[in-house]
């Protein structure tokens, strides 16, 4: 690899204490993230997908150095970040910004949009006081808000507009990478597409990188260059978006892709792609964590943790003992393709042209 990656994480692990005895000694721990490595290049979007509680947010926060890892290291542009150095941390916390799911709780209700967006400018001392108002107006415009709205409070905005404020606030710090933690999950489809387009525009204009956390494969398909799939704290598959989503190797990725509902009318029959519930992260199954639900599981899967490596044919890395011998995955079900008449109608609608 030539140019250093914007962010590189090696061997990150984190566990949380979730039970203590009478003397306060830890009795139960959750291994939220277990030996995970990843990197994000310039102008690249790496998507992190997986089900609730698999460790996506914890990983994202470690990558941003918001929480210290138990093990592992984070580098920015090839420079290791030390959690003991205030300077290092301040640097990372400016260059890596977080945009998260809930645009309602992310904003202090007592501050105006203008104050919220201006705060990072002041915090990181990026713009002289006299120019701040102008910069706030510029940022608001960049995310599609009108400058006069700067005096309004969060409750006076819709959900989509609040998410724009959150994004403008993140941009104010002049970041290189934004960790987007489920940025559109709380939004309706029609608002969601506006925000996704905004993120793509900003990436192209400002050369941003994204670590894009989502459980929605449609959204991931829209945004990602590469995709990492997590299951119970570990990455089980990582590769280009086409490799992982169109020809998934790992049995869990296959289950995920096959479970995602598709906008194609017709009742789905047959059995669901995987049986069983997610195991408790407090006591994950030994060996391959997925063996309790995997249709291909054998003895070795219960004993040995499979390595995350590419198969003989190259391509995505998959943490599965049988990565080279599994039957080919069923092709993902495509959404319905619009008829020519419908496609024309949609084009007319979205072009805003009045026939």
């Amino acid at each position: 690899m030539s140019a250093p990656q914007v962010i590189r994480a090696e061997g990150l692990s984190k566990s949380f204490v979730v039970g203590r005895d009478l003397l306060g000694r830890p009795t139960r721990r959750v291994r939220a993230v277990d030996d995970v490595s990843l990197s994000v290049g310039a102008r690249e979007t790496l998507a992190l997908v997986g089900e609730s509680g698999c460790g996506k947010s914890t990983l994202g926060r470690m990558v941003m150095c918001l929480i210290p890892p138990d093990h592992g290291t984070v580098e920015m542009h090839g420079q290791p970040v030390s959690h003991r150095s205030e300077r290092d941390l301040r640097q990372v916390r400016r260059k890596a910004q977080l945009v998260f799911q809930d645009p309602y709780s992310a904003l202090n209700p007592r501050m105006t949009a203008g104050q919220l967006i201006g705060e990072p400018l002041m915090l990181h001392d990026l713009v002289p006081r006299a120019d701040r108002a102008a910069r706030v107006a510029e940022l608001m415009e960049a995310v599609g808000l009108a400058a006069p709205q700067a005096d309004r409070y969060p409750h006076e905005f819709s959900g989509g507009q609040r998410q724009r404020i959150v994004i403008a606030r993140a941009l104010a710090a002049e970041p290189e990478i934004i960790v987007c933690d489920e940025p559109v999950s709380a939004l309706d489809v029609s608002v969601q597409s506006q925000i996704l387009n905004l993120l793509v525009d900003l990436q192209e204009r400002l050369g941003l990188s994204y670590l894009f956390i989502s459980h929605d494969l449609g959204v991931v398909q829209q945004m990602a260059d590469r995709v990492a799939v997590m299951y119970l704290g570990r990455i089980v598959e990582i590769g280009t978006a086409a490799e992982v989503l169109d020809a998934p190797r790992h049995p869990y990725t296959r289950a995920l892709v096959a479970s995602a509902p598709v906008a194609r009318p017709g009742k789905r029959r047959g059995s669901p792609p995987v049986e069983g519930d997610l195991p408790s992260p407090v006591a994950p199954p030994p060996g391959c964590h997925f063996h309790t639900r995997c249709p291909f599981a054998e003895d070795i899967c219960r004993r040995e943790v499979p390595a995350l490596i590419s198969g003989e044919a190259g391509g995505a890395a998959a943490a599965c003992h049988f990565r080279d011998s599994l039957p080919p995955a069923e092709p993902p079900r495509p959404a319905a393709t619009p008829s020519p008449a419908l496609a024309r109608l949609m084009t007319a609608f979205h072009a805003g042209s009045v026939p």
Binding site: V189, P261, P265, L345
Partner: protein, 348 residues
């Protein structure tokens, strides 16, 4: 009431829609919430029907009135602050005229509901088995032991492992997926004729969602239950429903068989929604394509335009749209609320 035997064939073999008598028929339903500024109409002129063994999907954005409509059908809106008008006929019987006591007998028996967040309807202080058994005892009579047996059997049927043990658990000890299964077990314990499921899988992960939707489909096929499935997710609707009602700003704006909605939408809002779905899109020349968007936002209840409620966002708007468009037939088994249907003519 139709004899049960008549409702058992799988939905594929049901007679044509216009021949079957609807299980529930809703006409011109309206809900006004009383507020300091006067009544606010949250649901307006909603007409729907569902046949036995069939699933009607209600889709629409946040605040479009899906939940209020569901609650109105169940008679669960607060009588003090919500005024419900129109007609809701279940098996020929008018529900809106029934006193609360009669409704309570119907709920959980003939008609039951699954909510998005199971903790809102599971009592945290009681074991889940007791909660199901209580519903069985209340509606079906019999002794406590028989009701408990039925509860355990229902938990087994919805795929709860070791149901005898789990029945003794309190709700907070169960995972989200398990709680949702318990809700379904409770809703179906008395073999209701109609099940209203309001976003039953929105809070769940996709692999669990697929299991729950499959389960609902199986139980429906066994018992011939009519289902109203409320969702904001068009993909879920596509995979589970026979018919779809699209809601916008408190009104149903389009109603059609599911294939027709996706193949030839007859309301501009439906068209916009379909276009905005993120999907596996080809990436032309490495550049990421923009998603089509519906510009603007939904009008608030207190600032509803007089004419078509979609007019502020509709590129097909004409002068006439300042008048409220009626819901009118636009083809076999389908209706739309738009002055410019059939839309096909606009694409020529």
């Amino acid at each position: 009431m139709m004899p049960r035997a008549a409702v058992l064939p799988p939905p594929d073999f049901l007679p044509e829609p216009d021949m079957a008598e609807p299980l529930i028929e809703v006409q011109n339903l309206a809900v006004d919430f009383l507020s300091a500024e006067g009544p606010l109409r949250a649901v307006d002129d909603v007409s729907l029907s569902v046949e036995r063994g069939r699933t009607l999907g209600i889709v629409g954005e946040s605040g479009s009135g899906k939940s209020v409509t569901s609650l109105a059908l169940m008679g669960l809106l607060p009588r003090r602050s919500a005024r419900v008008s129109g007609s809701v006929r279940l098996d020929g019987r008018e529900l809106l005229d029934l006193p609360e006591t009669a409704l309570r007998d119907l709920r959980g028996d003939v008609i039951s509901m699954i909510f998005q967040e199971p903790m809102t309807s599971l009592n945290p202080a009681y074991r889940v088995g007791d909660q199901i058994a209580e519903a069985v005892e209340r509606h079906r009579g019999g002794n406590a032991a028989a009701a408990w047996t039925r509860a355990v059997e229902m938990l087994r049927r919805v795929g709860v492992p070791s149901p005898e043990l789990r029945a003794r658990d309190y709700p907070h000890r169960l995972s989200g997926g398990m709680r949702q299964r318990v809700m379904i077990a409770m809703a179906l314990a008395c073999d209701p004729d109609l099940l209203i499921a309001d976003e039953p899988t929105t809070a769940l992960d996709v692999t669990i969602q697929a299991q729950i939707l499959h389960l609902m489909g199986e139980l429906q096929r066994e018992a011939g239950t009519g289902i109203i499935l409320v969702s904001h997710d068009l993909s879920v609707i596509a995979e589970t429903c026979d018919e779809v009602a699209v809601m916008y700003a408190g009104q149903v704006v389009e109603r059609a068989p599911v294939a027709a909605i996706f193949e030839a939408p007859e309301h501009p809002y439906t068209l916009g929604l379909l276009g905005a779905l993120p999907a596996r899109r080809a990436r032309a020349g490495g550049a990421r394509q923009r998603l089509p968007v519906i510009p603007g936002t939904v009008p608030q209840l207190h600032e509803m335009p007089r004419g078509c409620r979609f007019q502020g966002r509709c590129p097909f708007r004409i002068a006439r749209c300042a008048e409220p468009p009626p819901m009118e037939p636009v083809g076999p088994g389908r209706e739309s609320r738009c002055w410019r249907t059939p839309l096909e003519a606009l694409a020529a």
